[in-house]
């Protein structure tokens, strides 16, 4: 299914029999698409060019459509004003451990759900699905209190540790769907040959679920990179901030009568967004497959 999603579909629908009418409706469609491209693309373009303007240019009236001076120096200047590299590192560390926790743990748990019969399995799985519908706000306050008691505020633990316990309902669900598609004969053969469950899991199943692991890894990475509310709550000191939380610096910056340093803020926005966009280009197939699997088979 995901493979199909990547190509344009075969032509269908919309007046195929009458070529005159068809050409017209094609023209209409290309017009709509062009309009939408501007709508979605222009703000992105504007973010990029504003990051290359001088401050005066970014506040020029009327606004410029392209930078006159191409100030690439905005980027080093931004780096010198905020601990961007520190924040980048923090974000990367958190994302790394979230990915490890979620992939490792959801694979193990999903194997349990997909291949074993045990009392309470179905009800447990239903509860798992139910938690996806449950708004996270309700667990936020008790979790905060718990992490406060543990002395974990202003550390990365609150963001990292929970992922190692199951890896989240969504990822378990995704992984279970994937494992259930695999033919049972593979692991049954290993079991009949006398391999233990653990051994079957490691040497038969793990190699087969690699694509699903990649999918979960990418989805978790992107979610983690863009996480805002949790780091905002748990990380209070400047040097522990993630990029999303650190970005607020530019909003609070101007003293009375001064303009925001929007050009530098946009430079940081570009660099903050870049990893996810690059990853999307690099691993589009894997990513799209995961999203599609979650929606269609659900």
């Amino acid at each position: 299914m995901a493979e199909v999603a990547l190509r344009g579909a075969p032509e269908r629908g919309f007046g195929r029999s009458m070529s005159q009418q068809r050409r017209m409706s094609r023209t209409v469609m290309y017009t709509i698409v062009f309009f939408l491209l501007v709508l979605f693309g222009f703000p992105l373009y504007y973010m990029l060019i504003a990051s290359l303007m001088t401050q005066a240019e970014s506040y020029a009236w009327p606004p410029l459509l392209y930078p006159k001076s191409w100030v690439f120096g905005n980027y080093p200047e931004m780096l010198s004003r905020v601990p961007f590299l520190q924040w980048f590192w923090n974000t990367a560390v958190i994302a790394f451990f979230q990915v490890i926790g979620a992939t490792a743990s959801s694979t193990v748990v999903a194997y349990g759900f997909a291949r074993f019969r045990f009392p309470g399995r179905n009800i447990l799985f239903l509860i798992t699905l139910g938690t996806m519908m449950f708004p996270g706000q309700i667990t936020l306050i008790p979790q905060f209190i718990m992490f406060h008691r543990l002395g974990w505020l202003n550390t990365f633990y609150p963001l990292i540790v929970p992922g190692f316990f199951g890896g989240g309902a969504f990822n378990i669900f995704l992984m279970r769907q994937f494992i259930m598609q695999l033919p049972r004969e593979f692991d049954e053969a290993a079991l009949i040959d006398g391999a233990s469950y653990l051994r079957t899991f490691v040497s038969v199943l793990l190699p087969l679920v690699k694509p699903a692991v990649a999918t979960v890894a990418i989805i978790v990475f992107m979610g983690s990179w863009n996480l805002f509310m949790e780091p905002l709550i748990y990380l209070t000191s400047n040097k522990h901030f993630t990029l999303a939380v650190g970005l607020r610096f530019w909003d609070a910056q101007p003293a009375a009568g001064e303009l925001t340093l929007t050009h530098l803020m946009m430079a940081m926005c570009v660099l903050t967004a870049a990893p996810c966009i690059l990853l999307f280009f690099a691993a589009q197939r894997v990513f799209v497959r995961g999203i599609v699997m979650s929606g269609i088979k659900g």
């Binding site: 469609m29 992105l44 504003a50 019969r117 970005l247 607020r248 946009m266 967004a273």
Partner: protein, 332 residues
């Protein structure tokens, strides 16, 4: 596993004892034990980070708790305050109500009421366009999707810049055609609309669009051919073939869309701080303020419970209502 052989031979040890008590073969018991072992991280996680906190939150909601001291039991007072019941029930008249709760509920419902229908229809429209085999489809899909990849706080700041009342790009465009632009995020009259625009921009081309696209591609081609032979126009084909066939996908997207929209936070937090004059005072922001700025954990928990019950109610109503309009091709 299916290979399980129902042996009734006497096996020594704990497994043997268990198998005799439960009248299950040792193989079955071994399978169940290993199943539970594999699932156990999640059982622990569910207890520690979901079910436990949900129960704890129910308890905290009945207390006054500033996180440093000990929770002080106050009964239903937080709920009376939150829902402003003092005005309605004379017995509670001395408990001062929180006027902002209903503001928050109202603003959140407006936001969801606008973004979910427009967002779902918009995502479907994009998916349909991407499914026409137009030249450059790959490029279009990427451009539509990228706004979803930008951290939400970055897109808020970007739009704040574009929507700047005096020197922003949008108002300069409006100015050049002789229209005086609104104050966007700075004006109580236009703040909600601005927040909605930002929310839609970053989500219409996102996951929802990809899920719709896959749904559209799963509709069997023969159905279209049959409809075409019957002389159905392209609009009819969309309405009577495509929509019923993808209705489960629509339901999925609407339910997740509602949950997401009711939880709107970052746009208001970073873009308007809930203002101006509470024009974008969403519920998640209301909870955040009480819990993490004033550290009123008890009151915040009560608000969170009111919120959660509301969200679950919404989901339940949608699932009920879906029986009349969702069509499962497989029977089911």
């Amino acid at each position: 596993m299916t290979v399980a052989v129902r042996e009734r031979t006497v096996t020594p040890g704990l497994a043997g004892a268990l198998s005799r008590v439960l009248k299950r073969s040792p193989t079955e018991i071994r399978e169940a034990t290993w199943g539970i072992v594999f699932v156990s991280p999640w059982i622990l996680g569910l207890m520690m980070f979901t079910l436990g906190p949900i129960l704890a939150s129910l308890y905290f909601s009945l207390t006054e708790f500033d996180i440093l001291g000990v929770p002080r039991y106050v009964g239903g007072e937080n709920y009376i305050t939150a829902l402003n019941l003092g005005n309605v029930i004379p017995a509670f008249a001395e408990i001062k109500g929180d006027r902002l709760t209903y503001t928050a509920i109202g603003k959140t419902l407006v936001y969801a009421g606008v973004t979910v229908p427009i967002g779902t229809a918009g995502s479907l429209l994009l998916a349909v366009l991407l499914n026409q085999g137009l030249r450059g489809t790959y490029l279009y899909r990427t451009v539509f999707f990228i706004p979803h990849l930008i951290p939400s706080i970055a897109s808020v700041y970007l739009w704040k810049f574009l929507m700047h009342p005096r020197i922003g790009f949008i108002n300069s465009m409006l100015d050049s055609i002789g229209v005086t632009g609104p104050g966007w995020l700075n004006d109580p009259k236009s703040a909600m609309a601005s927040v909605i625009i930002i929310g839609l921009w970053s989500s219409i081309g996102g996951n929802r669009m990809l899920i719709f696209l896959a749904g559209l591609q799963g509709v069997p081609q023969e159905l279209y051919e049959a409809a075409e032979l019957d002389g159905a126009s392209s609009w009819h084909r969309f309405w009577h073939v495509t929509l019923p066939m993808i209705s489960p996908t629509v339901l999925f997207n609407v339910i997740l869309g509602v949950i997401g929209a009711l939880g709107v936070f970052t746009v208001a937090f970073a873009g308007t701080k809930g203002g101006p004059s509470y024009a974008t005072w969403f519920f998640a922001l209301h909870i955040y303020r009480q819990a993490f700025e004033y550290f009123r954990m008890g009151y915040g928990s009560a608000l969170a419970w009111i919120y959660a019950v509301g969200v679950l109610l919404f989901t339940w109503v949608q699932l009920r209502a879906s029986r009349s309009w969702v069509f499962y091709a497989g029977g089911n």
